[in-house]
């Protein structure tokens, strides 16, 4: 059961119940839709990017606690950062949540700040896609793709 507590950490539950930046965006200049056909999780990420800086970020949609908290915390942490930082953080985040699966030490944990809360996902291979859906969607939006599916 302690693995469950690691997965559903307080901060994750809190964000899933009260997601931040959970709204549409009129003046978004980038946006993408992410979909996990396996469980029906479905989000749209909106971005207002100017000179490589994420001026605003928000999301809408529905899904499980892990995917929603991930989107919420991602939006919080990326706001006012650069797109390059965002991509770099995605890389580290991905490594942290897939750590156990790939057999590698999740050395990225520690430089993730609040996102460290998601390290517990690594013990639940079926939930990795939930944690990374928002990030994959962000990545697609930054690349200019409009729809991304995690399958």
């Amino acid at each position: 059961m302690s693995e469950l507590q690691d997965l559903y950490q307080e901060v994750i539950l809190e964000h899933s119940k009260h997601p931040r930046n959970f709204r549409g965006m009129e003046n978004a200049n980038l946006q993408a839709e992410g979909y996990n056909p396996l469980c029906g999780d479905h989000y749209t990420i909106f971005l207002e990017v100017e000179d490589g800086i994420i001026r605003d970020i928000s999301f809408q949609g529905a899904g499980c606690a892990i995917s929603k908290a991930s989107a919420s915390m991602m939006s919080q942490i990326l706001k006012n950062g650069t797109t390059a930082e965002a991509e770099e953080l995605f890389e580290k985040f991905h490594q942290a949540v897939t750590g156990k699966e790939s057999g590698k030490e999740p050395d990225a944990v520690g430089s993730l700040g609040k996102l460290e809360a998601f390290a517990g996902v690594a013990a639940f291979p079926t939930r990795i896609k939930c944690a990374t859906l928002a990030w994959h969607t962000l990545h697609a939006a930054l690349k200019g793709d409009q729809v991304v599916s995690t399958e």
């Binding site: 469950l4 559903y8 119940k17 396996l38 029906g40 892990i66 079926t126 939930c130």
Partner: protein, 419 residues
């Protein structure tokens, strides 16, 4: 609730003994996350009794050979076992003739066979095919593909909030352009048992043939294809304690005789020259290539296993469990059952207020409880209920009231995590 428990047919006069049944399924002894396995994902696939596992391994251990073509002893034994299984299925479905039983990979392939063979022959531009709002994707997509190819239309008969087909509206949709009705006998998401006898009658009045998707009906109620008078019936072996990769298409002989083959190859021909090929007779016309012989043998053993317990005892046991589970789950605050049809079997689909099914599934899994979460290959049905997914516990002959209790305790634990 304990009074309900005592009313359980744990051991009946007819000899149904749940402990003995459980002992037939070796996998049930397993522990998951260090807890006893509570397997409640039977609508996805059922576990296999030792009799089935042994039949398959015995085939490979003692008479593995190709069928219908060897003069040698092993080939004869394999052919005999293969055809004996066909007989078992015929009797089980009460089909008139063993030739009406076609071995396929599963319900999905059975439906695709009818769509590609019967459908392409009979459905033309502007024609209509009718399904219901509660179909599995495997009884939607093959028809969509056909409709797309032919310029025909797929029409969807509506259901009510309990998950019951609106029979009058269905009947009103039948018209001169309708070339086929394809309806799920029992819904894998809702547990609804459709009034298939009435559906067939209504369609036949207008001269329209009916295919029934019986993937979930056969294990939990049995079927009499002659009493139903359906034209085609599809089901999968793995949902009735048999192996995966084997299933059945039943078709009325006259229809099957008139249909073109589905696939070409060995076994489905009588003679081949480069100028002309003469197709084999039924059922071989539809069984191209070396089939899943072990799968057929396993399915035959599964049906004999079910016959050995007695379908009526299985149904009675599952009915008790469903009633018990419906009451127990219904008493959980914030829980809504999806699918409350009057005629219902073996499925408890639910949603919990404020908690996504995927999270429910993970937390239950850590308690050793296997359920399915998601759209259950029925996305249009999810849209009908305005939900992205459900959590689904589905029952089989070996489930117990104690397992329902474990599920209820598990759901309380889910609520605790999210409290």
């Amino acid at each position: 609730m304990s009074t309900t428990l005592t009313a359980f047919r744990t051991s009946t006069s007819s000899g149904f003994d749940i402990e003995r049944v459980r002992a037939d399924f070796p996998i049930l002894e397993q522990r998951v996350h260090d807890l006893p396995l509570v397997y409640l994902d039977n609508a996805a696939t059922t576990q296999k009794p030792r009799a089935v596992i042994d039949a398959i391994s015995n085939y490979y251990l003692s008479y593995n050979a190709n069928i219908h073509r060897g003069v040698h002893q092993l080939s004869q034994s394999a052919t005999d076992a293969y055809e004996a299984a066909r007989k078992s299925v015929q009797t089980f479905l009460n089909a008139e003739d063993a030739k009406e039983i076609i071995f396929v990979r599963g319900a999905t392939e059975a439906i695709n066979l009818v769509a590609q063979s019967y459908g392409r022959q009979h459905v033309n531009s502007g024609d209509e095919i009718i399904v219901t709002a509660m179909e599995h994707h495997s009884n939607i997509v093959p028809w969509q593909m056909l409709c797309e190819e032919k310029g025909a239309h797929l029409r969807v008969a509506p259901i009510n909030d309990a998950g019951e087909l609106l029979l009058d509206e269905f009947e009103a949709m039948l018209n001169a352009k309708t070339k086929l009705v394809a309806v799920v006998h029992t819904s894998n998401v809702l547990g609804t048992v459709n009034p298939v006898r009435r559906i067939v009658e209504m369609a036949h009045t207008k001269g329209i043939p009916v295919l029934l998707d019986g993937a979930q009906a056969v294990p939990h109620g049995g079927v009499d294809v002659r009493a139903l008078d359906c034209d085609f019936y599809a089901f999968s072996g793995h949902k009735i304690y048999g192996p995966t990769g084997i299933g059945i298409l039943y078709g009325k002989r006259a229809l099957l005789e008139a249909m073109p083959p589905y696939q070409g190859g060995g076994d489905m021909i009588r003679s081949v020259t480069f100028e002309k090929t003469i197709y084999n007779q039924l059922p071989y016309k539809f069984e191209a290539g070396t089939p899943d012989i072990a799968g057929v043998v396993g399915l035959g053993a599964a049906i004999e296993y079910v016959n050995g317990i007695g379908l009526s005892d299985i149904v009675a046991h599952e009915e008790d469990l469903l009633a018990y589970g419906t009451e127990a789950l219904g008493a959980i605050p914030g829980l809504t059952l999806i699918g409350t049809a009057k005629e219902k079997v073996s499925v408890l689909s639910f949603v919990l207020e404020g908690i996504h099914p995927h999270d429910i599934g993970t937390i239950l899994d850590r308690q050793g409880i296997a359920i399915r979460t998601g759209h259950h290959c029925a996305q249009p049905l999810m849209q009908r209920f305005g939900i992205p997914a459900t959590a689904r516990a589905s029952l089989a002959v070996y489930n117990t009231a104690q397992e329902i209790d474990a599920l209820v305790a598990g759901i309380h634990k889910v609520k605790e995590v999210f409290a």
